[in-house]
Structure formats: structure tokens, C-alpha cells
């Protein structure tokens, strides 16, 4: 992995934190902008979940990761603690892969 990614991400991530706390401070954003900005995690995490489950590089693929996702959704639904969700999801994937 390139050090550039680490350095640029560090500056960018800190920059957006400082922008909120120090630069913009107690100013109000327009309601439309606020409504859109709060949706960033939903859109991106939705995309990341789909990408990391159903694609390998640029190809569509279904494999043992799907078992992990299903178990994770079930565990999250049941309000299982985060650490256990990870353990169950990862474990299910390993199990399916070992059996296949």
C-alpha cells in the first residue's frame, strides 16, 4: 500500500474534523445540505457491503462471504454486541469455506 494514501487520508480526515469544530463552529448549514450530508454513511456503507460481498475485483461473484453477511445481519438484528457480530460473521465464512 502506498504511504500517500495514509498521509492524504490523515490530512483529509483531520481536515474535515477541524472544519466542523473550529472553522464552521456554531454556524448553521442549510436544511437541504444537512439532510443530504447525514445520508453519506448510508449510501457509502450500503455500497461497501454489496461490493465486499458480491464482487471479486471487477467480477460479480457469490462465495462463502455471503454466509458471513447473512449471519451478521441476523446477529445485528438480534442486537448482539459488535464484537460477537464480527466473530460470528467471520466464523460462518470460515466454516462454509472449510466445508466447501
Amino acid at each position: 500500500m502506498s504511504w500517500w494514501l495514509v498521509i492524504l487520508l490523515a490530512f483529509g480526515a483531520y481536515g474535515s474534523k477541524v472544519l466542523g469544530v473550529v472553522v464552521l463552529g456554531e454556524r448553521q448549514l442549510s436544511p437541504v445540505l444537512q439532510r443530504c450530508l447525514v445520508l453519506i454513511p448510508a449510501a457509502l456503507l450500503g455500497a461497501l457491503i454489496a461490493k465486499d460481498t458480491f464482487t471479486t475485483v471487477q467480477n460479480f461473484s457469490i462465495d462463502a462471504r455471503l454466509a458471513g453477511l447473512i449471519v451478521a445481519i441476523g446477529a445485528t438484528w438480534k442486537k448482539v454486541p459488535l464484537v460477537l457480530v464480527i466473530a460470528l460473521g467471520v466464523g460462518a465464512t470460515a466454516l462454509v469455506r472449510a466445508l466447501a
Binding site: 449510501a43 455500497a47 475485483v57 460479480f60 445481519i73 460473521g89 465464512t93 472449510a98
Partner: protein, 230 residues
């Protein structure tokens, strides 16, 4: 127990909940360390990400795009967009974090999901400040120790045998839950998921994730499920 006595009684529960969250996040950091190293980052780079980026979703996102063979630019793009929400948190925390510029610049580094959630749980300014700093300092400590442990473990195992490639979708699933409470949130997530898979064969790795961001435009129209309560 002089230390215990020097902490005000109403602050003690805040500190213990900050510590509980931090321990859980520390274990979570171990999984970040493992998958980061497995994705091709060195132990040094993995630790640098946790020390200086210090926002979990962005770190996982960047590493996930690199693992799939994406470019630095596309890995950076998605991770920075995710980091932008900390700017929004900063706006809401600014009244809590008033003080000298130096103190504000230090506080900014700790503005993440957990510190915002814990601080916002209190009405009283003094308790809000306690919650923010207690959670920030303990979480930063555990996040970085966990990352180092994970990176060292990741160096010595085959991640696929242990199903660790599934750690990405599993972690993101747990993270997305609070964002699915509103109808617009669910629409944006579905749009993102469909865009990521449908565009994967046609665009360079990492770019579909950026296109998925257009899902935030669902926010242009007010959310029925939100406007009813305001």
C-alpha cells in the same frame, strides 16, 4: 482510593461507560489491524492509519478498496467522503468544545461516532465535556493498542482460512444499522448497494463506491418519517 474520590460522583458512570465502549472498540481495532495487513499494508502503515486518521469506517473503507485492487485515488475518495460526517458532528459539538484554539485542535481529532454519541447523551455542558474527553482519550488509547495487536497477528496467519475477508461486509453491516432508521437512509443505502454491484464490471475498482454517493440526493426531499416529528 483517592483517585476515585477526586472524580465527581455524577461523572463516574460516564467514565465507566466510556471505558466499556473503548474495550469493545479495542477488540474491533484488532480486526482492523488484521485485515489491513492482509490487504497489503505494512504494520507501520496500519498503525499510522489508526494514530492519524482515527475514524474507523474510513480506515476500513480505504483498506477494502486497496484489497480489491483499487487505486489510491478511489480508496481515498470513498474514505474522505465517509470522514466528512465527522465535520457534521463537529458542528453539533462546537458549543461543547469551546476553548483555546490549541484545545479545539486537539479535541477535533477525537470527533467521531462514539464521542459524539456519548457527549450528546447529556444535556448539561459540564457532563457533555466529561463524556467527550473521557470517551475520546480512552477510545484513542484502546483503538491504537488493538490495531497494533491485530497488525502483528495479521502478519502471521492466512486471513482467508479464518474467513477474515468477510470481516469487511460484516463490520460495515454493524455500522450501517443506525443509518437505516429513516426512510431516506434506507433509500440511500439501497441505491449505494445496487450501484456498487451493477457498475463494478464497467468502472475501475473503487469508482462505483464514489458513484454510490449520489444516493445522498434522496435527502433533497424532506423525509416523511423525520418531518412528522419536527
Amino acid at each position: 482510593m483517592t483517585l476515585r474520590k477526586s472524580i465527581p460522583a455524577d461523572v463516574r458512570p460516564i467514565i465507566s461507560s466510556a471505558l466499556v465502549i473503548s474495550v469493545a472498540v479495542g477488540v474491533f481495532a484488532v480486526s482492523f489491524g488484521v485485515v489491513s495487513v492482509a490487504s497489503g499494508a505494512s504494520v507501520m502503515q496500519t498503525c499510522a492509519l489508526s494514530l492519524f486518521v482515527f475514524t474507523g469506517a474510513s480506515q476500513f473503507s480505504a483498506v477494502s478498496v486497496i484489497a480489491a485492487g483499487g487505486s489510491v485515488a478511489s480508496a481515498l475518495g470513498g474514505a474522505l467522503l465517509l470522514a466528512a460526517r465527522n465535520g457534521v458532528y463537529g458542528l453539533s459539538l462546537a458549543p461543547t468544545l469551546r476553548g483555546s484554539l490549541g484545545k479545539q485542535l486537539l479535541a477535533a481529532h477525537f470527533v467521531i461516532d462514539e464521542t459524539t454519541a456519548l457527549a450528546s447523551a447529556h444535556e448539561d455542558m459540564r457532563l457533555r465535556r466529561w463524556a467527550f474527553w473521557a470517551c475520546g482519550i480512552s477510545l484513542y488509547t484502546f483503538w491504537n493498542i488493538g490495531t497494533l495487536i491485530g497488525a502483528l497477528i495479521g502478519n502471521s496467519i492466512d486471513p482467508k482460512t479464518f474467513g477474515l475477508d468477510a470481516a469487511f461486509p460484516v463490520v460495515f453491516t454493524a455500522m450501517i444499522v443506525p443509518h437505516l432508521r429513516t426512510r431516506n437512509g434506507r433509500r440511500a443505502a439501497l441505491f449505494g448497494a445496487v450501484a456498487a454491484v451493477a457498475l463494478a464490471p464497467f468502472l475501475p475498482v473503487g469508482l462505483p463506491i464514489l458513484v454510490a454517493t449520489f444516493g445522498i440526493l434522496f435527502g433533497v426531499s424532506p423525509d416523511q418519517s423525520e418531518t412528522e416529528s419536527t
